[in-house]
């Protein structure tokens, strides 16, 4: 029972209260870069969720191996290599097995390697001393939080085209201001942390 409450707390934290985008600033680059249309935002969000879940599981196991060998200081290098090859592997797998999904994700798949949310979740799992199940849950729900954030943001951005604002704010600045206001809204969830 305690285990379930704990997992629920991790889920709520990762999706709402400690959202990867709005409170931890992880994964901002794809968040700003791939959020001009809702369809692509959904594709990116799903891909990131998938990779984050898998990467959490694999890096957790890799870390056990590193600790056993006394090579903890190699964490960063090992994790980024694992993530890069994982993304490459998923790319090849999708190309063979699910070509429709592969073409839908297009260029966003390789970009996930440099998404700091993925490396971030791997490092945070170790820092928070999560066990294997907690790590996987944190990875997947963190990805879901990213998906929620990027889809909401993309739907607002689609409407921004019709909005009037000073010319200097065109492009990134207005997107950042929008994201800031959304972060303000997400701060309302921080009360959930008590749980």
């Amino acid at each position: 029972m305690e285990q379930i409450t704990n997992l629920l707390a991790i889920t709520l934290g990762a999706v709402l209260a400690n959202n990867f985008i709005f409170s931890q600033f992880l994964g901002i680059c794809p968040f700003l870069g791939v959020s001009k249309k809702v369809d692509t935002a959904v594709g990116m969000g799903v891909a990131v969720t998938f990779v984050m879940g898998l990467a959490s599981a694999i890096t957790w196991l890799v870390n056990v191996l590193l600790v056993k060998l006394g090579l903890e200081y190699m964490q960063t290098v090992a994790f980024i290599l694992v993530i890069a090859s994982l993304v490459q592997f998923i790319e090849m797998f999708l190309q063979k097995a699910m070509p429709t999904l592969y073409t839908a994700l297009g260029v966003y798949l390789p970009l996930i390697t440099t998404n700091c949310a993925v490396l971030g979740v791997a490092l945070l799992n170790i820092q928070n001393n999560y066990n294997f199940i907690e790590s996987v849950v944190y990875g997947i729900t963190g990805g879901l939080g990213f998906l929620l954030a990027i889809v909401l943001f993309a739907s607002i951005r689609e409407r921004l085209v019709f909005a009037e604002y000073p010319k200097a704010f065109e492009g990134f600045p207005i997107a950042l201001i929008t994201a800031g206001l959304m972060a303000l809204a997400f701060m309302g969830f921080s009360g959930l942390k008590i749980w």
Partner: protein, 211 residues
């Protein structure tokens, strides 16, 4: 090689944060106190310069197809060194920057400069590119820190100057009396808003200077 042009590009016309819009995560996440901004800026400048030099030196022997993987390995190596160095000699900084030091590996500024500049240019030019782009990044971080700290907490130089609190960190010099500042600006919201305004100001200034 054109030093003056590289210098101006790094600081203004091709500023990594304000014009190229790279490395946003760390820019917004850690700019809550002066000390953090300075530490992060210096760390990134050192890593960027070193990896630029190495990548430029090995650019002729690396096959085109695996260059990105090579870049990441080189960068990750330097990030690990800096991470361990900070943990050993500046533990306070290592603690307050936390996960964002290892995350320098995926900071797009470094990978971006490797791909866009040092993979195509000589060692000396790449060295200066690293230094100037690093300084440009550091200046933006410091500007963000100063604005957010001053408006959010009413202090200047947090972590470096001013009275020491119970935990042993410097609180910064109080400039605005503590009942006035908008604490929101030191929270994540402030990061988005301040950076948005800075980039807008930059776009405005660049469009003015073109006319």
């Amino acid at each position: 090689m054109n030093l003056k042009k590289q210098f101006m590009d790094g600081l203004l016309y091709q500023n990594p944060v304000l014009v190229q819009v790279l490395g946003m995560c760390s820019t917004m996440a850690i700019t809550t106190s002066f000390f953090n901004g300075l530490g992060m800026g210096v760390a990134v400048t050192v890593i960027l310069t070193l990896s630029n030099v190495i990548i430029s030196a090995i650019r002729k022997i690396v096959p085109d197809k695996i260059r990105i993987a090579m870049f990441i390995v080189v960068i990750a190596g330097f990030v690990t060194m800096v991470d361990l160095f900070l943990q050993a000699f500046v533990p306070a900084l290592a603690e307050s920057l936390g996960v964002f030091i290892p995350l320098i590996v995926v900071n797009c500024i470094i990978l971006g400069r490797a791909e866009a500049f040092s993979y195509k240019n000589g060692v000396a030019a790449s060295f200066f590119d690293g230094v100037f782009q690093g300084i440009g990044y550091t200046l933006v971080l410091l500007a963000m820190c100063i604005i957010r700290e001053l408006l959010g907490a009413g202090t200047f130089g947090g972590g470096l100057l001013g009275p020491v609190n119970a935990a042993g960190t410097h609180m910064g010099i109080q400039i605005i009396p503590s009942q006035f500042p908008a604490g929101m600006l030191t929270l994540p919201v402030g990061g988005f808003l301040v950076l948005g305004c800075l980039i807008a100001a930059m776009q405005w200034a660049l469009s003015k200077s073109k006319k």
